[in-house]
Structures are given as C-alpha cells and as structure tokens.
Symmetry: C4
Amino acid sequence: MVFAGGTRLAAAQGTTADPDAERKADLVTAYRILVNENILDSFGHVSVRSARDPNICLMPRAMPPSLVAQDDILALRVADSQPIDPKGRRVNGERYIHGEIYKARPDVMSVIHSHSPSVIPLSLTAIRLRPVVAQAGFLPPETPTFEIRDVRRPGDRGMQVTDSARGAALARVLSSYPAALMRGHGDVVVGSSIKQAVVYAAYVDINARMQMQALLLSRDIVTMNEPELFKPEEFDINRPWEHFKQKTLDDAAKAKVDRAQFGLDQTQTKQ
Amino acid sequence: MVFAGGTRLAAAQGTTADPDAERKADLVTAYRILVNENILDSFGHVSVRSARDPNICLMPRAMPPSLVAQDDILALRVADSQPIDPKGRRVNGERYIHGEIYKARPDVMSVIHSHSPSVIPLSLTAIRLRPVVAQAGFLPPETPTFEIRDVRRPGDRGMQVTDSARGAALARVLSSYPAALMRGHGDVVVGSSIKQAVVYAAYVDINARMQMQALLLSRDIVTMNEPELFKPEEFDINRPWEHFKQKTLDDAAKAKVDRAQFGLDQTQTKQ
Amino acid sequence: MVFAGGTRLAAAQGTTADPDAERKADLVTAYRILVNENILDSFGHVSVRSARDPNICLMPRAMPPSLVAQDDILALRVADSQPIDPKGRRVNGERYIHGEIYKARPDVMSVIHSHSPSVIPLSLTAIRLRPVVAQAGFLPPETPTFEIRDVRRPGDRGMQVTDSARGAALARVLSSYPAALMRGHGDVVVGSSIKQAVVYAAYVDINARMQMQALLLSRDIVTMNEPELFKPEEFDINRPWEHFKQKTLDDAAKAKVDRAQFGLDQTQTKQ
Amino acid sequence: MVFAGGTRLAAAQGTTADPDAERKADLVTAYRILVNENILDSFGHVSVRSARDPNICLMPRAMPPSLVAQDDILALRVADSQPIDPKGRRVNGERYIHGEIYKARPDVMSVIHSHSPSVIPLSLTAIRLRPVVAQAGFLPPETPTFEIRDVRRPGDRGMQVTDSARGAALARVLSSYPAALMRGHGDVVVGSSIKQAVVYAAYVDINARMQMQALLLSRDIVTMNEPELFKPEEFDINRPWEHFKQKTLDDAAKAKVDRAQFGLDQTQTKQ
C-alpha cells in the first residue's frame, strides 16, 4: 500500500532523525486499534522498547486510552520503571508491569496490559486458556493465570500491579510465554513488535471467547495440538494490523472531519 | 486536558454565576454517556443534588434519555420529590427513587436508575452481585437486590417506584451501599458526584456480565476479598469519565454536523 | 418536542388531505427503527390498518427492510390479503400473516412479523416466553409459540405463512395476545398503533434475551405475577418511540448527507 | 431499484466488454458485506469462477479483507490453484481451498472461506450444525465438519489448507453440500453465484448462533425436517444481498466522503 501523505508528513514533522518515530506512531495506532476492537476499556496501557536504548521504554502518561497522542508519550527507565522526565505529567500507576517484563525478557519489544473482556470470566475459574482457533497458534498449550494473592504481603491491598515486586512476580508467571491472564483483572500480552503484540492481544480475546462458548456446549472440546501451533514467523502480522487500522481510520476520520469543519470541541457537548 | 472553548462558552452562556452550571452540564453529559454505553435504554434517569441547596435535586422531565438537554432539567424538593416549578412539563413518575435516597443519604450527590441489561438476569435469580473485576472494587462483598413484592400493599400494582413509600423502601435496601439491584427492573447506583455515579453504573454492568459468564463456566469462581476492595478515593474516576465522554463526543459531533449542514430534522425521516 | 420542518413538509408534500399520511410516515419510521434495533433482518415486514377503511391494510412491496420508502407502500384487502393495485410490484409472500390477523382482531391496527433474534432460541425449545422485565408487562403470563407442523397438510412444504389457511392458524394461536412466537422463525407482534407494535416488538426481544440469560444461571427464576403486569394505557409508548427514532435519525442523517453531497450511489460501491 | 450512476460508470470504466466485469464488482461488494456482517475478520477470502473460462477463478491477492478493490483481483488456474500472472503480488496461501472445490464441483460459481465466529465453537465439539432457522433451509440435515488431522501426513504442520492435497480433502468433506465447517478454523460456503454464497455464509453464521443458544437452554431442540428445507430457487437471494449492501454503502460512503474532503489518509492517523 502507498500512503501518499507519508513523506510529506515526515518532512513536516521533522521526525526523520528520531529512531523512535515509527514506534511512537505505531504506539498511537495501537491505542486506536485496541480501543476500537474493545480490548482496551477506560484503562489499560501499551508500551514499546526504545530503538535508541533498550534500557528505556516509551509509554503514554496516565490518561484515557481513546485520547492518546504522540505528545503524551513519556520515556521510562526499564531498571526501575521511573520516568526520565515526567514533564509534570502523572505517570501510570501500573508502569511496573512494563518495566519488569522488559527487564526479564530481552526478546520483548512491546507490552500490552488490558481488561480484555473475554479473558476475565476464564480468569475467575480454574480453567486455563488453551489455543482453539487457528490464528491463536502462537499460544502455548496452556496459558498461565497470575493470581495476585500469591504475592501479597501482609497489609498489601488492591488488585493492581503498583510496584516492582508485583511486576516481577507477574513477569515470572508470564515466563517465556506471549501472554498471561490476570485473575479478575485482564491480561498481559507481549510481542517482538507493537504490531505483533496488538494482533496477539486481539486473538487472545477471540480465542478466549470461542473457548468459553464451546465449553458451554460441551466439556469435551478439541484444543490445538503441537503440530497445529505455529512459530511467530509463520503468522502474517501485517494483514490483521492493516485490517484493524483501516477500521479505526474510518472512525477517526469521521470524528475528525466533523470537529474540524464545525469547530466542535468537548465543551460544546455540554450545551 | 485543555478545552479551548470552555471560557468562551461560559461567557457566552452567562452561566458563571450559577453554582449548578457545572452539575447541569455534567448531567447532560451523563445521559449521553449512559445511552452510548448501553446502560440507559428508552427509560432510566439521572439526578444530581443542587450545589445551591442540599434539599433540592435536579432531574430532567419525563423524556427519552437520548434527547435530554439542559433546558429539560427541573428542580425537585428532596422532602417530597415534587417539582418546585414544573414549567408545564411532565415530571418523572419514578422521581421518588431520587428524593428518598437523597433524604436517607446525605453523602449522596447523584443518583442513577437504569435498566442496566447485565444486572437484570442476575436480579431474577437468588444469585447476588459480587465484585469480580478490579474496577468494581467499590462494591461491597454482596450487593442487595430490591424485591418490590416485599413492600407491596393490598391493591398495589406494577414494578415501578412511584411513591415515597416505595422509594423509602428501596433506600432502606440500598442502605449505605453504592448500588442495589432491582428484581426484573434494573438497578440504582449512587455517587458522591455525577462522574462517580456514572462510572460506578458502567462498572456495575460490566462486573455483572463478567460474573454471569464466569458462573456459566463454573460454579466455583473467585470473587474479590476484603483487601482487594478499594476506597472511593483510590479510584481515578476522571479517566473513565473522559474516555466515555470522548466516545459520545464522536457520535454527537457526527450527528450534529449532518443535521446542521443540511437542515435535516426528525420530521424528515418520515419522508 | 417541536419539529420545525413539520408544517413546511406537509405543505410541500400536499399530504394534508390523506387520512393515512401519518400512518405511512410512521410505517417508514417503524422500518428504520426495527432495522436499527436489530429486530428486522433482511426479511420481516410491518403493516398498518388504513384510517380510510378498516378492511384495507398498508404494507410495503417485497423488498429489503433497510430500503423501504413511502412510495413502496401498497394497499391490501384484509379479506383475502391481495393487493388492490400492485402497480407492477411484487407483493410479500407472507402477507397472509397480516390479512388474517386484521380479520380476526378488529382491535389490532398494526402487525409486525420479524426474525427477532432473541426469541428464536426460545422458540426451538419447550420453554415459553414469560414476562420478566418491567417494560414487558404487556405480555401475558405465557406467550404461545406457533408450530407450523400442526397445520401442515400432506405435500405442504416450508416454514413460511404463504396462504390464508396458515395465516388463520397463526391468528388462532395469537388469540387475543399481543405476541406469538413462531418456532424456528421469529415472532408476530401486534398493537393498537404502529408505535405500540414497534415498542412491543423491541421489548419482546429484550425480555426473551433477559429470560434466556437468567435461565442459564438458574432454572428457578422470578417471573412477573398478575399485579406486576400492566394495562396498555399504563405504558408510555411515546418515550421509547422517540428514543428509538432519535437513534435512527442520527444514522440516517449521516448516510444521507454523505450521499447527497458527493453524488455517491449504490453502483459506486462496486468500483 | 434504479442506480442512476450505472451506465455512466460502466462507460467511464470502459468495462462493457469484460464478461467478468459484474463478477469483479460483486466480488468487491462481497468483501464489504462480509466484513460489515462480521463474517470475515482480518483473514478469509472470497472467489468467483470466471465467466470467460470455467477453468479460471478470480480472487484478490493476500491482503486485509477491508481493503480489497478490483485492482487487487488475480486470475488463478483451477487445475493447480496457481496465478496466471501474479503481477508481482503475493497470492493467498489458502487458494487451494478454492481451486480444489471448483475442480470437484462444476456447479459452484463462488467459494467463501471465513472464520465465521458463530460456527467455531460448534466446530470444537461433536455437535453438528443443523438447520434451525427458516432462512437456513438450504442446509442439509447435518453439515459436515472438516478435521484437518484426518489428512495430516507425518511432518505436516498447521491448521491451514496450503496445498492441493488438503484442498482436495476439504472438497471431499464438503461433498455436494453448500457448506462445511472446519474445526477450530471456520467454514467454507459455496454458491451458484457470489450473491448466493454471501447470503448463505451470513445465514450459516446466524443459524449456528441460534442453534448454540437454544442448546444452552435445552438439549431437546426442534431442528428443521425435510419438508421444511428448501430448494435454492425458493430463496430470494436478492433481498438479503441488497439489504446487506445498503448497510455497507452507508458505512463506505461515510468513510469516503470524509477522506475525500479533507485529504485524510492512513498516515495521518499516526499524528
């Protein structure tokens, strides 16, 4: 596909020299896609490892996913999940999920934490996510579920991963897998690129839904066996990425044109 | 976030002096959000306590939720749920829900009654709503269900809360909780602000859906325990509020621009 | 509500003298609403008794519901379900549903036949539709399901109601009720006006969905008892009608403006 | 219906002489419809036999379904599923599904392979798809499910139909039926025209959903018997085709107008 405005845009933004320019653009697109596909709700976050320095990751400030723009992206140190320069903005309370996974997994370039609605019911039971649909062949025979009670210390409260200890515990459960469910909370999905993480997150949700529906019909369902699982390089990530992007484009364009043309802004919905 | 039109708008409307200006604006936004999130259907209503006088609450006339505008808002006395000046408009038959809850709960600033679709199936069974998703940690371990038959007097008819006695009975079941289900009807959700009530109402619906789906998979599900529940101040209400608002804005803007530009109105759909 | 364009529109159309003008307009709106609410799929039809002559009913030709306009409406004789003047157009094969119900039920002013998706699963089982949600209090304690096999004669084929005998059999099952399910097919819903039939059809679908979901959770659910059911005059039909119309208006307006402005038509989607 | 732009368009495109012009246009419309009806996800493909030569079929290159345009269509030989002239484009890895079915079924003019979401849960169980809704009366009493393990040779990997042997095995399971499910993968649906295949694919999905929901309520459901099934010529394909097309038109028009007017393109969503 040819994007006519590509070169012109790069020139206008003067981003040619930023090695993270493409990753930042993809990060914003990832938010649009995951909101549109109903994987991200009001919360949830996506990050990417910097191309400039593997000890740095990029992640938006604490904010609603539907509003993320490039200007909201902050750089965090992988070592301690702290922002290099917060620019006066509130950082995400669960950024330790990202920092600790990047620390434990040099192969991971992107991390998604979401409240993916189809995995939550499964996470509340003893049933494990198993690959059942062809496109989820990147999953292991059994995906682990993180139980935060296993790492709770006396006095600890809440379900959120708000410090390095919890983040490291989650990273241990994730192990070398592409995904881990989080009981009553959602999941974490990782990839060797933003595109891979986004597509994996979408298919984890689809696979969970198909598995649940099949289990309601019968306790005896066929899950994929070893020769049916695939290597990452066997999955054409670009096709679903472009398909998802096309769907968000249509929506974004429609909203944008209306606001641009009539000067509508958020305040005016209050009239 | 900066809303460029904010100051200009306030000036143009001359609303600077009205202490309820923000609450009225939020009330209209609440309707937009709750219709868009499928919490309000053709019925259901939202109110807010007046900032001017705690013995007064503000609530739209009896009308379709999708059409509510600031001009539709009436002031009701908390004491008897009667309008101070109906302005010739029909008041809501179930306004007693609001009046009686404000009377019993000085801490409550906003009340939502809806036919929230995911709570209704639960309400028809002996199963109680229990917190299962992280964002619903504002719920108690068990949310009560109001059974209108318990307060029906001989000759009484209907499922609706259409007098002070029924309203007071519902308020007693609600007790000090943020929500109560209503059998075969929906729920009532309260908050210390419109924003909190709206976000709570959305997560009550999500939590009920997740709980139901998990229960179909297994009767043995993990519900949140005491250290996993949270205090209201631990929940960032603004993030989901802004996220939900952004989603309604896109839709509202699209509809508005089309009608403004081509002079389309409701009558013309009849052609 | 004031519809600014109303008078102007009536004048422009010269419809002032047609006693069926309002019914025709409502009939088109009914199609828009029922497609938008996912009650009508590619098939299904709505009719209204003529205000001019109770022995005549008005119904669109055989066509996709999403495309119905006033010009598509034909007049049929209630006596034999045949068109008075087909104007060279194909009439609906299942028009006998409408004719036979108008014949058997002088109180009925509008008939809807749809493949309402939530009633079909129920119709395939021995479970009867029962009122469980407050707004479906117009339903009887048990709504009958029409089994076409009961009236099949040797050599008969198909599931459709394509002659007067089948239509009359369905009307007998409907009896004096507002609705009857049709096994593996959908339902028929009637009303004393188009508005009432449309709103009833929407709540039959909602009630069936809620009842199904509750039954998956527990076989012991609370259904509405006699004092909880209501008389038609106790249900404010106008509020859901206006709410549903507002939702279709937004969609219709968006489609219309785009096509009008850029001369897009159906052929161009083929490019 | 009259499409005002039809003649003008044909003239402008100079397509009058191409016997496949209509099929190519319908093929693009088929993609729009199946994406819009949620039958095609990021993958899946539709083909049509050439009107020029029955030993040739037409099919888009490997690409996201939402982006398919006429220029993407390639001609493949039915004999070996290879492109006559790939024009430097990547052909679809699963094109053998199409080639082998056209080879085995001279009556088939169009083939759809999709990840139709409602058939997948059924395909994971021993339950067979059975006709339960009136519009799915084109189905046999029991639709077969293809199990790729049955034809796997030592060393074979994956779930996809990526060679002639697998394609031929699928064609054998399909037999003379209009559809076959594929375990953990989706289905294949065929028709005597693109329109028929598209409408059949939509009703296979609807029928599977209704059957599943009914089975959750009761194991004893009524499926359609022989006199209730219909001959293809008894089903008015045009009505659902036009209905589905109208729905895609609205969406397509909205996206198109916005992009055309404001010069928005995919790159700009990255800002």
